[in-house]
């Protein structure tokens, strides 16, 4: 391979451009998309951070295919004061939605556990809504060693 300096330059610029372009094309949710979904879920309100909602995830997930996730909300869970729904988002997945849990006073406590897929190291966000329209959220970073979204 005999490349002139000019050809070299062209090639490297092209490669860099492809890299940038490729990245912008890759299907990945952004924190902005997540924020948008949260806004829709919360009905335009700004969710208060922390409070009664606890999101439990491992700090480091070796395998992104099954990451245990647990949400619990401190609530009396009576007929007039209960947690209606809790939604989980993964900011860095191709699609930020993970799951929506719907509780009723018959649930006793607002707690649920499941296992999710994470494509890469990212923030996981949980937002809870009570029947009175109170909204609060919790956020955790999960480090993922092997991503779990195929592709």
């Amino acid at each position: 391979m005999n490349l002139t300096r000019r050809q070299m330059l062209c090639a490297s610029v092209g490669a860099a451009a492809a890299g940038v372009f490729g990245f912008s094309l890759s299907a990945s949710a952004t924190p902005e998309a997540t924020a948008e979904s949260i806004k829709n879920f919360a009905g335009g309100k700004e969710p208060a951070m922390g409070g009664d909602l606890t999101l439990n995830t491992p700090e480091i997930a070796e395998n992104g295919n099954t990451v245990p996730v647990e949400v619990s909300v401190a609530s009396p869970m009576t007929d007039d004061d209960y947690v209606e729904s809790v939604v989980i988002y993964a900011e860095g997945n191709p699609n930020p939605d993970v799951a929506v849990f719907h509780f009723t006073p018959m649930s006793g406590v607002a707690e649920a556990k499941t296992r999710m897929r994470l494509a890469k190291t990212q923030n996981v966000v949980a937002v809870a809504k009570t029947n009175k329209g109170k909204v609060f959220m919790d956020k955790k970073e999960v480090k993922v060693t092997i991503g779990g979204c195929g592709g």
Partner: protein
């Protein structure tokens, strides 16, 4: 789909007013629709998109699932038992199938 078998763990009995934990698991590939097969084409999405739990016909808990839920979805939640009765669990598949199972609980 065939060979889908839901598994549920509910205590056999509870005292009135007790909050019990229910564990559910169903074997399902939860194909996300983002994976490519050997021929290079995308494998179409097929997941369980909804799970519901009813006690004596009243809703207790339900959950909408997205492709970001792991294969063989495991869901754990709680229920308050005030009377003897039957828990009915159903899983809804993207292809329209519904997988159901029931569990009875007695009062101590």
């Amino acid at each position: 789909m065939d060979n889908i078998k839901p598994r549920v763990k509910v205590p056999k009995s509870a005292s009135a007013g007790e909050v019990i934990t229910i564990k559910t698991l169903i074997n399902h590939p939860m194909e996300s629709g983002l994976r490519k097969g050997k021929d290079g084409n995308l494998i179409p999405r097929q997941i369980i998109n909804k799970f519901t739990c009813e006690f004596n016909g009243k809703p207790v808990f339900s959950c909408e699932l997205e492709p970001a839920i792991s294969a063989n979805p495991y869901i754990e939640f709680s229920a308050k038992v005030t009377e003897a009765g039957t828990f009915k669990f159903s899983w809804l598949d993207d292809d329209g199938s519904v997988y159901e199972t029931e569990n009875k609980i007695a009062i101590k």
